[in-house]
């Protein structure tokens, strides 16, 4: 019964996402049981991530929506709040999670995080430093680390 309500909620969120698409954000289940999704974010304009496409994985536990989904960047990203394994430091995915937050809002938050990193609590210290000191170097590292989905596919990830 519990998993059934999870599925229902996820289904509803999926339909919301699909019927009211937000530019630059998209998500879709990877398998039939809806517990694992793949999301796509396009980097916002006027940031070092402008036009880059990032893939994320979202895993929903059976306690969802009372527990936050596990969200990871699948595309390598150079960002102050994301470590090299793709783990994200974002408050709403940790202690400030609430049941009213939807997949769409999570993705929106992540998109805005790309433009406004929280440099107070970085996972990647170097990135946090460079963000303010040397935007050009930062951008170069972002581009160096980024891979397109095709490249990822080729690498078998």
């Amino acid at each position: 019964m519990a998993s059934n309500t999870v599925a229902q909620r996820l289904q509803k969120e999926l339909m919301d996402l699909l019927t009211h698409p937000t530019p630059g954000i998209s998500a879709f289940p990877s398998d039939s049981n809806l517990s694992l999704w793949t999301a796509t974010i396009t980097g916002p304009a006027d940031t070092p991530y402008d036009g880059l496409v990032f893939k994320l994985s979202m895993e929903f536990s059976p306690e969802y929506p009372y527990k936050a989904p596990t969200v990871l960047f699948r595309t390598p990203i150079y960002h102050p709040n994301v470590d090299f394994s793709g783990r994200i430091c974002l408050d709403i995915l940790k202690d400030r999670w609430s049941a009213v937050i939807s997949v769409g809002s999570v993705l929106l938050s992540l998109q805005s995080l790309l433009g406004e990193p929280n440099n107070a609590s970085p996972l990647n210290g170097q990135a946090a430093e460079l963000w303010d000191k040397d935007p050009a170097e930062f951008k170069r590292l972002v581009l160096a680390r980024h891979k397109t989905p095709e490249e990822l596919d080729a690498a078998g990830l």
Binding site: T19, S26, A27, S30, K55, P149
Partner: protein
């Protein structure tokens, strides 16, 4: 020849005389010195032996010269007739007696007996004289038409040759042997006569040996294979003659044909006996006979029994058995007797085997055409009965099922066959096989592919349910229902049958220990075999699917049907629902029950609101409405209501002609309240109905809410039907069963809301907080178009769309409809501007004068109207649902391709089926079309191998 020369010749064989004299094995040696014992030795014997040899030689010479056959005549005398022989002279007689029974008999291997010599002589003669002639006959492959003559001739030649050889044998050799045998047996063997069977006498042995040798020579002069073949054909031919006559005799002119039978029979007998006499009877002839009889049986069945008894519908098997017993067996016995077979009679067991053999052939022939018989059921009852007999043979079932399955897959289960046809055939299969084998094992086996195929067809369910709802007494005038679904009258007839003793559907018969009629399952039943519920065709059809699928289909069709139904009591629908409940169980059919109750309730609510309405009106405007009350007093059925409407229209006509400006009589409205939750998705095109109807709807709503408390109505204007009366300058036209949009469109051509449209409104769906219900209105009224003398109103399709807020296709459809009815026309061809044809005669003449092509126009447009009308079922079609959900599907596809990368169609389809709420009820085809569209729009890119991906990603 004189004695001297005989003596001389016996000592010194003269070549000229010895041509018939084989050299004796023991050459006589005269006078050699013998060295015997000195005294009392066997010298006397030796001398005796020498003496005997000489004497034997002389006798031999005499006898062989006498017996020798004339070989010199080979060329000259082709007939080699037996010449009259000279009487035996005493010395010949003496010689023969000496050689045959006297001392000159061959006593050991070394000496050749005179009998053997004669046999040899005959063989040589045969080889030299007779054989070439026989061989000439058989040189080439014998043409079948000449088989009889060749056999006859051969037989004659051989018979004559045989006589030639046997006569001297019988005349000159046998008497001596007989005499001797008689003498010896009378003296010595007499007292054994009773003690042991008489031993074959020496004469018999000699005779048999001789005969054997001659026959061997005869047999080898003809190629065995060729002979067998020819003989078998000849026998077959004669047999055919015999039996054909036998049947004709039955048919009616026994006297005329009687000679023929006995002729053929006699010919056959004489030929066979002749052949047997000359030694050609043996194994070859028997083999030939077996061949012939085998073939004969086959062709006899072909010619006489493959014809199915279509009229009396009886099996031909008893007759076939009779034929084997009374026609075939006697013939075989006759032949066996001629060929001297042992035993020459046929016992009952053999007869049984033959009958089965014949039945097997008949059955196989029938199986070949079984599909045709099934289609022509039940005229083909005779053939099915034949097969029923055939099935008793071993292996027959297997043969029948595999063969029939092949026929079915070849002739039925292909895209060219309509579903209705397949269903009808399936019903015939059920009935025919039930007759064939009541237990249903065969049916289950052969029906499996048909059922599987029917399940794959998407219109099967619709046809079945639509057919269930059809009245078979309609006469089959139209093979389609209004919704354009083909129906099967077979099913309808089946449904009309009284419900047989139908036990509860789910009871497991196997566990009912009290069942005194219990029988074990048939031994050849497959694991899925279920005891069939008799010949209940409906049961077979309803069990085609899972119950749930079937019920959801049933809901759709029943919904459509109920909305169209004209019968105010809904008797058939109630009956159908009850029947299906019995078969599928109550609990699943709740929605259908609610639907049925909705329409029944609507009637009551209509009546209730109408009474209120009348009361109010009488109170409010008694003077105006009073005259009409009596007419409306009993509006219990649509029929009476329509009559009322017609009366009102007549009144209106009168008023219109006087150009009065008062409003036409108000239209009437009947609503059907549907509980939207339980109904299938319905058409919900939104458009404006004529203002009169809108007013009525408002009023109705108010009353409804008064009766039903909190519930609210939502009108579904696209559903419903109406009647309208149009008053034009020169005529009045009445229309019934129009769609609401047709009425709305024609009302829009009226000036200033002056006409009373009687549209019928739409359906409403009402929603309250807890449950919602929809209403369908039926209203009747009259619309008068009284614009005498004024210019006709013109409208374009675009104007109408705007005025009525109606979809373009509905507007177009309505326009086409009215054009085909000669109410509207385009002012100019292709102009898109329509006007009312106020004056039919003038306008039609003018328009034909103007445009020669316009004459054909009404027909084309009416056909398009008909075509589009069929699409306008009340329940939304899959295609329209697909169109409405297209956007969701598209965004779904985009979402999937964006996040998961490129995917082939099959994977997209799978994901859509699993993830979309409510599933994706379409196939790969539809999805592919959708994807192609998106490719055209540039949102998706198609790659090779049916893989699609998002653009620019």
């Amino acid at each position: 020849m004189d004695h001297k020369s005989v003596v001389f010749a016996s000592v010194f064989p003269v070549p000229s005389l010895s041509h018939t004299t084989p050299t004796p094995i023991a050459t006589p040696v005269l006078g050699y010195a013998s060295f015997g014992p000195s005294f009392e030795g066997p010298a006397a014997d030796t001398a005796g032996a020498q003496q005997r040899a000489v004497r034997r030689n002389v006798a031999w010479s005499t006898a062989t010269r006498f017996l020798s056959l004339p070989k010199t005549q080979i060329a000259a005398d082709a007939s080699f007739e037996v010449r009259n022989r000279a009487q035996r002279t005493p010395d010949v007689e003496e010689a023969l007696e000496y050689l045959l029974v006297g001392e000159g008999r061959s006593e050991d291997e070394r000496e050749q007996g005179i009998v053997e010599w004669f046999a040899n002589e005959a063989t040589l003669h045969f080889a030299a004289v007779v054989r070439p002639r026989v061989a000439a006959l058989w040189e080439k492959e014998v043409h079948l038409s000449q088989a009889c003559e060749v056999l006859d001739q051969t037989q004659r030649i051989l018979e004559r040759a045989q006589n030639l050889y046997f006569q001297p044998f019988a005349d000159h050799l046998l008497p001596f042997l007989h005499r001797h045998a008689a003498a010896s047996s009378s003296s010595t063997v007499r007292h054994y006569e009773f003690a042991e069977p008489r031993r074959p006498s020496e004469a018999d042995i000699a005779r048999q040996r001789f005969q054997r040798e001659i026959h061997a020579a005869f047999t080898y002069c003809v190629s065995a294979r060729r002979f067998t073949k020819t003989l078998s054909y000849a026998l077959y031919d004669m047999g055919c003659a015999v039996f054909r006559v036998y049947i004709r005799q039955e048919a009616g002119s026994p006297q005329a044909k009687f000679d023929n039978i006995s002729d053929s029979r006699r010919r056959m007998v004489s030929l066979l006996q002749g052949l047997e006499r000359v030694g050609l009877g043996g194994d070859n002839a028997q083999r030939a006979f077996a061949h012939a009889m085998d073939k004969l049986m086959g062709s006899f069945i072909d010619s006489h029994y493959t014809k199915v008894d279509w009229y009396s519908r009886k099996s031909v098997v008893p007759h076939l058995r009779m034929f084997i017993r009374d026609g075939f067996c006697p013939l075989a016995e006759l032949v066996l007797e001629c060929l001297k077979c042992q035993p020459s009679s046929i016992d009952a067991k053999e007869l049984q085997v033959w009958q089965d053999m014949a039945l097997g052939r008949l059955g196989r022939a029938r199986v070949e055409d079984l599909f045709d018989y099934v289609i022509r059921w039940d005229k083909s009852l005779g053939a099915i009965c034949d097969l029923k007999e055939y099935l008793k043979l071993p292996g027959a079932k297997q043969h029948l099922t595999s063969n029939f399955s092949q026929q079915v897959s070849r002739r039925l289960l292909h895209p060219g066959a309509t579903t209705t046809f397949i269903l009808n055939v399936y019903i015939s299969v059920i009935r025919a096989f039930h007759e064939l084998e009541p237990k249903g094992v065969l049916l289950e086996r052969v029906a499996r592919p048909i059922r599987r195929y029917l399940r794959e067809r998407e219109d099967t369910g619709r046809i079945i349910i639509a057919s269930l709802l059809v009245d078979p007494n309609d006469g089959g005038s139209s093979a389609k229902t209004a919704a354009g679904v083909e129906i099967s009258y077979e099913i309808a007839k089946e449904m009309a049958k009284p419900l047989s003793n139908f036990s509860s559907a789910d009871a497991d018969d196997e566990l009912d220990y009290g069942d005194m009629n219990w029988q074990p399952l048939p031994s050849d039943a497959s694991p899925e075999y279920k005891k069939s519920k008799g010949e209940d065709v409906i049961w077979f059809l309803l069990s085609l699917w899972d119950r749930d699928d079937f019920i959801s289909e049933l809901k759709n069709i029943l919904g459509d049907h109920l909305l169209r139904c004209q019968d105010p009591e809904y008797e058939k629908e109630i009956r159908l629902l009850e029947l299906i409940k019995v078969r599928l169980g109550d609990e699943k059919l709740q929605a259908c029950e609610v639907m049925l109750r909705d329409v029944l309730d609507s009637k009551r609510i209509n009546a209730a609101t109408r009474i209120n309405e009348e009361k109010e009106k009488v109170l409010k405007t008694p003077e105006k409405r009073a005259p009409r009350t009596p007419e409306n007093a009993g509006p219990r059925t649509p029929r009476t209501r329509r009559a009322a409407a017609a009366a009102a229209a007549a009144a209106e006509a009168a008023s219109a002609s006087t150009q009065q400006k008062h409003a036409a009589p108000a239209p009437k409205l009947n609503a059907q309240i549907l509980s939207s939750f339980f109904w299938p998705p319905l058409r919900d095109d939104e458009f404006l109905v004529p203002p009169q109807i809108q007013a009525l709807q408002k009023e109705y709503e108010v009353r409804f809410e008064r009766i039903k408390g909190m519930r609210k109505l939502r009108w579904m204007n696209a559903l419903g039907d109406g009647s309208i009366t149009l008053e034009l300058e020169d005529r009045m036209e009445e229309f019934d069963h129009l769609t609401p949009w047709q009425i709305s469109v024609i009302c829009a051509f009226q000036e200033g809301g002056e006409e009373g449209g009687e549209g019928d409104g739409g359906f409403g769906k009402s929603s309250s907080t807890r449950n919602s219900s929809g209403g369908k209105n039926k209203s009747t009224g009259t619309a008068g178009e009284g614009h005498a003398g004024k210019k006709s109103v013109t409208r374009t399709a675009e104007q109408l769309e705007e005025m009525l807020q109606m979809d373009e296709d509905l507007v177009q459809q309505a326009l086409a409809f009215w054009t085909s009815k000669s109410i509207l026309r385009e002012t100019e061809p292709e102009s898109g501007i329509y006007e009312v044809i106020e004056n039919l005669s003038s306008s039609s003449s003018s328009s034909t004068a103007k445009t020669p092509g316009s004459a054909s126009k009404p027909t084309t447009s009416s056909s398009t109207a008909a075509a589009t009308a069929t699409e306008a079922g009340a329940v939304r079609s899959q295609a329209s649902i697909f169109a409405s959900k297209k956007e969701i599907y598209q965004s779904f596809v985009i979402g999937m391709l964006t996040n998961q990368g490129n995917a082939p169609v099959s994977r997209i389809l799978m994901m859509m089926r699993m993830v979309l709420p409510g599933g994706f009820p379409y196939g790969e085809e539809e999805l592919r079309v959708l994807l192609e569209e998106m490719v055209e729009e540039g949102r998706v890119v198609g790659f090779v191998g049916g893989v699609f991906g998002v653009k620019g990603n």
